[in-house]
Symmetry: C2
């Protein structure tokens, strides 16, 4: 990189930049997202670009909405892809459903619960929180008790799949608890959507958001969201406008869902092409098959990692299949080994976030990355590294345990 603005100012139009084109080495993406994408999704990105009001693109938007409804398992009309990443989906959902002064109960057991609390405060909500240690999940009774302590609460927010800890929050029955107490239920499904069971309508969830780069296996850049009848009613009753113009569903609806196709902003065309193809693949596989696939590979990976001395972080039966968080073995050279996996084996995994930095690994097996190849590539690479670092006992144990796990589960 030798071109600078100084150079350019001096030389005007004769400047020729020397920034090289780049050709990234391909990685096996086993971190907390992005996950690997199917070649047909990559190809979709490169389809001819058309305008955001071109009838061809409007048809793509309609398909994307229909397929998102299929993946969220909802009939909600307001189901669309927000033009930002998963965190924009979080902000969009809260900005539309929370007015200044509204009391909001945020359940915090990891980084993303903290983020929701942060956003609620910024937009003027009155924040109540209940907390659990990172890695734990909430019992429905304690959420009910918190609502009873704060009877004016209008909204409860909770993370289904805490990507920072690997914990899976049970949700069945929670909506009734919220509704009985006059509150809506908002669920963060950034990591869970299409990777484990999630049923928006059956479970009574009033609003939910996700990201494209996790179990949907699409590049990052869009945030699927869905809002049900209670959420729409809340939006209608607002006496203030949303603090965000960009994320205001009442405006975005006029472009996406209400038939007017009113210009709001220029949608990310290529990203919606990619999401269209990614959703086709999800539905072609079948949701339940896909959920089972994530469970199968997670079990094998966790068996293999346990044999190598890693300890699951979240308690059994409340672990995410698509994001496997593990405590590290004693005296484990965390950062250098993680870097070696990337540099020498082209395998990306995730380190710990926030208070878990340096203490856990987070191994994603999401979407296209949830495969036998991923499991055995990581385990063999780890055994290779451990052997070269002087460990002689137990080499091969990870692969053996994973093999036995697959065998047991395929009986």
């Amino acid at each position: 990189m030798t071109v600078t603005s100084e150079t350019l100012k001096k030389t005007g139009s004769s400047t020729r930049p020397t920034v090289d084109s780049f050709q990234p080495r391909a990685r096996m993406l086993l971190g907390p997202g992005p996950s690997n994408v199917h070649p047909s999704v990559t190809a979709a990105l490169a389809k001819p670009l058309v305008g955001h009001l071109d009838p061809q693109f409007l048809a793509v938007m309609d398909d994307v909405q229909d397929m998102l409804r299929g993946v969220f398992l909802t009939d909600n009309r307001l189901t669309l892809a927000v033009s930002g990443t998963g965190s924009a989906g979080m902000e969009a959902t809260l900005v539309n459903l929370v007015e200044p002064g509204d009391e909001v109960l945020v359940c915090v057991n990891g980084l993303f619960g903290q983020r929701m609390a942060d956003i609620v405060e910024r937009i003027g909500g009155v924040l109540h929180t209940i907390a659990r240690p990172w890695g734990d999940v909430f019992a429905l009774e304690e959420i009910a008790a918190a609502l009873d302590r704060h009877p004016s609460t209008t909204l409860v927010t909770i993370v289904h799949a805490e990507t920072s800890t690997g914990a899976l929050q049970p949700l069945v029955g929670l909506a009734d608890i919220c509704h009985d107490r006059g509150a809506l239920l908002v669920v963060d499904a950034v990591t869970s959507l299409a990777g484990c069971e999630l049923r928006i309508d059956d479970w009574g969830i009033d609003a939910c958001y996700s990201g494209t780069q996790k179990c949907l296996s699409c590049p990052p850049g869009l945030a699927p969201v869905t809002v049900g009848p209670r959420g729409l009613e809340k939006m209608k009753r607002r006496t203030t406008r949303a603090v965000s113009w960009y994320l205001d569903f009442s405006l975005i609806q006029s472009y996406w869902t209400d038939g007017r196709r009113a210009y709001h902003h220029t949608a990310p065309i290529a990203m919606n092409y990619a999401l269209h193809q990614a959703l086709r693949l999800v539905l072609a596989e079948g949701l339940e098959t896909r959920w089972q696939r994530h469970g199968l590979h997670s079990s094998a990976l966790m068996a293999g990692l346990a044999a190598l001395g890693f300890v699951p972080f979240a308690a059994e039966n409340q672990r995410l299949p698509m994001l496997n968080a593990v405590r590290l073995p004693e005296d484990f050279d965390e950062a250098p080994i993680r870097r070696e996996l990337l540099d020498a084996y082209d395998i990306e995994i995730g380190g710990g976030l926030g208070e878990l930095a340096g203490r856990v690994w987070r191994v994603g097996l999401m979407g296209e990355s949830a495969t036998r190849q991923s499991v055995f590539s990581l385990l063999t690479a780890l055994e290779d590294i451990l052997l070269r670092r002087g460990r002689s006992q137990g080499i091969g144990a990870g692969v053996e345990a994973a093999t036995r796990s697959y065998h047991a589960l395929s009986e």
Copy 2:
């Protein structure tokens, strides 16, 4: 489309969707954006996806920032691509530089000025506006006079290239007027960046935002922004947090510019690949050469359209080269002809927005779309349509006038 969430609920994993893959017809994109993209930019989208903390991607981010500084003609360290479209860039800039209670002067002479005013109000700014009829631009004196009427104003916002009207706002000297009165200057360069002269540092602009899908000729999805020393100072002096977490520069900086690479959100990887390549092409052409190219083709197009009875909407010497707004000939069947251009000729142009709906056309010649091929394809298609609609006189006049314009300007 026959799969529905109902179907899926009934059939579970055996559902097979019937959403077809799509292969859009390629368009000549001569609307208000997106513009056509170079094949190498399309190819960049499809490069191997890596993680948002992969050293390979961090290098791409560094390059993108350096090249954006080259295109903005600035040394501002806080220069990066916001993970949303151009309107997200507008909201990000205002959300970071305006605190509740701050007095903001918004100059409104088109739709995008209105949008800035809308955002300022939503985030709690005290709004002052001055207005000009759509198509006009502001004299610097009237902005000075407005600031003198509102001496506590902290920020002035103005649109450089009003995409709704085709008017080009002169900016040289405006920063001094603002600074002398204690206000910062924010410029909307969504449509102007890389298409006509814009010099952030030389002109003293304190913050500026743009979009990727206009004269940078990259698909929509990112918003280049830059903030200078006065803007940073204002951000430091804030006593409240920005109302947006997603767009909070104080957090985004920790990922992009301050060396910490702290996780904020998962950047749109593929979109940044595309922007990287698009910026390489801009700098390889040279900014001044690129500005001249936009001017050349605009002159030819406007000559051709005038010969066919269209009348420039903005006054001479205050017209945008990259977005050519014209009043329609008498008794002109606007919407059907525009649709015919799209359906029969695969040419997209823009209709009027807001109060100009049905009254003007907006023809974009942006980036890769600013070519002789674009100009003559549109003019010949129009002459074809007019001939078939019974107009016999003046057919060929558009092409002739454009040809003469090119000839005169290449002397």
